[in-house]
């Protein structure tokens, strides 16, 4: 018999920490769907009719659901990714280390700023916002 531990494909189900790790890896799955949707959107810009049918596709309930999942996944990814930055690249000002919590907060502020920018750029028409 061998003492070499065998790794099976289900090792990550055995601990909450491993599951969270795999969940983070899985955040890219709805992202891939979003990227394909956006690619279709780019090609639909060829004519107003194609753009309208792309918008109809985007409004389908299952597409909306997957994109809702993509938003949650993007925010979860951001949550994990922003914690890495102060560890990978600690910023020193003089002798003092910039507090990691502040660096995380600045990154969330950037997310918010981009959302506000997009709403300002695209939310100008007859919509509710």
């Amino acid at each position: 018999m061998s003492y070499k531990p065998e790794l099976t494909g289900s090792w990550w189900l055995k601990h909450r920490f491993f599951m969270l790790y795999m969940l983070r890896e899985a955040t890219v799955l709805p992202l891939v769907f979003l990227l394909c949707s956006l690619l279709a959107g780019i090609y639909s810009l060829a004519s107003p009719e194609q753009f309208a049918s792309w918008q109809a596709f985007m409004a389908r309930p299952w597409v909306l659901a997957l994109h809702g999942l993509a938003l949650v996944a993007a925010l979860y990814h951001a949550f994990t990714f922003f914690q890495l930055f102060p560890r990978v690249m600690p910023i020193r000002i003089g002798a003092r280390l910039l507090p990691p919590a502040l660096m995380v907060a600045v990154q969330w502020a950037a997310v918010l700023a981009v959302i506000v920018l997009f709403l300002w750029l695209f939310g100008n028409s007859q919509g509710a916002i």
Binding site: G9, V28, L45, Q55, A70, L71, F118, F122, G127, I129
Partner: protein
């Protein structure tokens, strides 16, 4: 090499180690991760949730004129190409974690798909801008 002086000559194995592209994959993964975290939430919210639900009405001619400009190229790079390589990297290593595939085939399929998606998106921009 001082540190390897005592190793027998066979230690320099003849195995092909690839093209040492890992730094490139990791840089693309990292840059894509930043874009995924900072730009993608706004894009999903506006184009994939608020607009389809009717809270925002997208103006076709305005979007075309913006997209055909340099902004479309920046959008394509930051929201499609870089996140695509980020996703490819995670899928490649996620498959390895699940003990599926691995090796050169995973590399070719994952990054190849990201490259195809990127080229398709960039070609779409080029067509509109040209």
């Amino acid at each position: 090499m001082k540190t390897h002086a005592k190793l027998p000559s066979t230690a320099k194995s003849s195995r092909w180690h690839g093209l040492h592209l890992e730094p490139i994959w990791w840089s693309l993964f990292s840059a894509g991760g930043v874009c995924f975290a900072v730009f993608v939430p706004a894009v999903v919210l506006v184009f994939a949730i608020l607009a389809p639900l009717g809270f925002i009405t997208l103006d076709y001619s305005q979007i075309v004129s913006w997209y055909a400009d340099i902004w479309g190229l920046l959008f394509t790079g930051a929201v499609i190409c870089l996140p695509a390589f980020h996703a490819a990297h995670r899928i490649r290593h996620g498959l390895h974690d699940l003990q599926i595939g691995g090796g050169l085939l995973s590399v070719v399929i994952c990054y190849g798909a990201a490259a195809l998606l990127s080229v398709a998106a960039l070609y779409g921009w080029w067509q509109l801008s040209g």
